[in-house]
Amino acid sequence: MEEVKLLGTWSSPFSYRVLWALELKGIPYQYTEEDLYNKSPFLVKCNPVHKKIPVLVHGGKPICESMVILEYLDGPWPHNPLLPSDPYERAVARFWAKFADDKGTVIWTMFRSTGEEQKEAVKGSLEMLRTIEDLALGDKKFFGGERIGMVDLAFGALAHWLGVFEEIVGIRLLEPESFPRLHKWTKNFKEEPAIKENLPDKDKMLSNFRCLREKLLASP
């Protein structure tokens, strides 16, 4: 099997989506930590359009965008599939994966803002969580059913990053009483060995994101 490399950063949920997928499928890979303030020439060569992580390099060929990478992985490594085999179920999975990407930014907005903008973002975040709780998860253990799938990985930031953001801004969104299913899902998700053993250190995250928030609020 050809060599697999992952270019990522320790604090990015997008990076982790791919890392978790590789771990779940038992794919050996070489990880390179990128410094986003000093991007490597290799990263820029692999992703000239966005110059962003994560990038998966398989047999020398780069694949960019975390969800595009996840879609790619089932091809060369079909075991422990990330997507179901039935076309309709695949469409449902892709719908929620897209939802995670399209709507997920509202949580980032809540994190990087104050005042009215933050109030609106909180409202948007709660609406998003309500939709996921009521429509996406149902009574399943994971979005993928009995096993973790692509949608679980797409929503992975909710399981670990959201808690960090909530603590920093002092706003609690994912309350167990309001979102029992989603709350239970975060516990189940983080208990899976491939996830549990691959999560960024919480204290390091608090310190890093606290610093980042100050920087973002200070700049125009």
Binding site: V49, I63, C64, G75, P87, F99
Partner: protein, 219 residues
């Protein structure tokens, strides 16, 4: 293959992406025009998360989000493939489809601004179009290579819709002198029979977009 219905809106490029894919694959379907100011109960039931068109209903099961629908159509009716067979090439196709999605809001910004703000956004749009021409299209006739593929359908709003929008918003970014290959692709795209025969009337579209822009500029 089971009954197929499409809930769409005559002016929507997202709706048309699905029409084109169904027609390219020779799939028979029943079209339901939605009044977006008075959405049908069925639509709200089929897409409770977004309440938007297009929604494809196949064997009574709804699929929402145009790009998700395109992938579904590709997998359910594999004849006349619209995605490459090679996994890496497929990833590249999905990368560009994703690129178009990410940049959509910038084009919308162009539409709902005037003066200096519009000029500034115009510079950003020009860069995006240049990237699409140089990196996505290259020297190919279509994004899919020699024939249409999902990437072409996903960029299908550039010909026709963006051209009409440019007249309405007073810009001239998709220009044959600055973007010869992309401009040529846009004209070729519109000549493909399935596309040519399934485009909204330009006058009706222009009036619709003028109204939309007027409302956006007022608020």
């Amino acid at each position: 293959m089971g009954e197929v219905k499409l809930h769409g809106f005559w002016a929507s490029p997202f709706s048309h992406r699905v029409i084109w894919a169904l027609k390219l694959k020779g799939v028979e379907y029943e079209y339901m025009e939605e009044d977006l100011s008075n959405k049908s109960q069925l639509l709200l039931q089929y897409n409770p998360a977004h309440k938007k068109i297009p929604v494809l209903v196949h064997r009574n099961k709804p699929v929402a989000e145009s790009l998700v629908i395109l992938e579904y159509i590709e997998e359910t009716w594999p004849e006349n493939p619209l995605l490459p067979l090679d996994a890496c090439d497929r990833a590249m196709a999905r990368f560009w489809i994703n690129f178009g999605e990410q940049k959509g809001p910038v084009f919308f910004n162009l539409f709902r601004t005037t003066g200096e703000a519009q000029e500034k956004t115009g510079e950003e749009v020009a860069q995006i179009l240049k990237t699409i021409e140089e990196k996505a299209l290259g020297d190919n006739n279509f994004f899919g290579g020699n024939t249409l593929g999902l990437v072409d359908l996903s960029f299908g709003w550039l010909p026709h819709w963006f051209e009409v929008t440019e007249q309405v918003q007073g810009t001239k970014l998709l220009d044959p002198t600055t973007l010869p290959r992309l401009h040529a692709w846009a004209q070729n795209f519109k000549q493909v029979p399935v596309i040519r025969d399934n485009l909204p009337d330009p006058q009706k579209l222009s009036a619709h977009l003028k109204r939309l822009r007027g409302n956006l500029l007022k608020n």
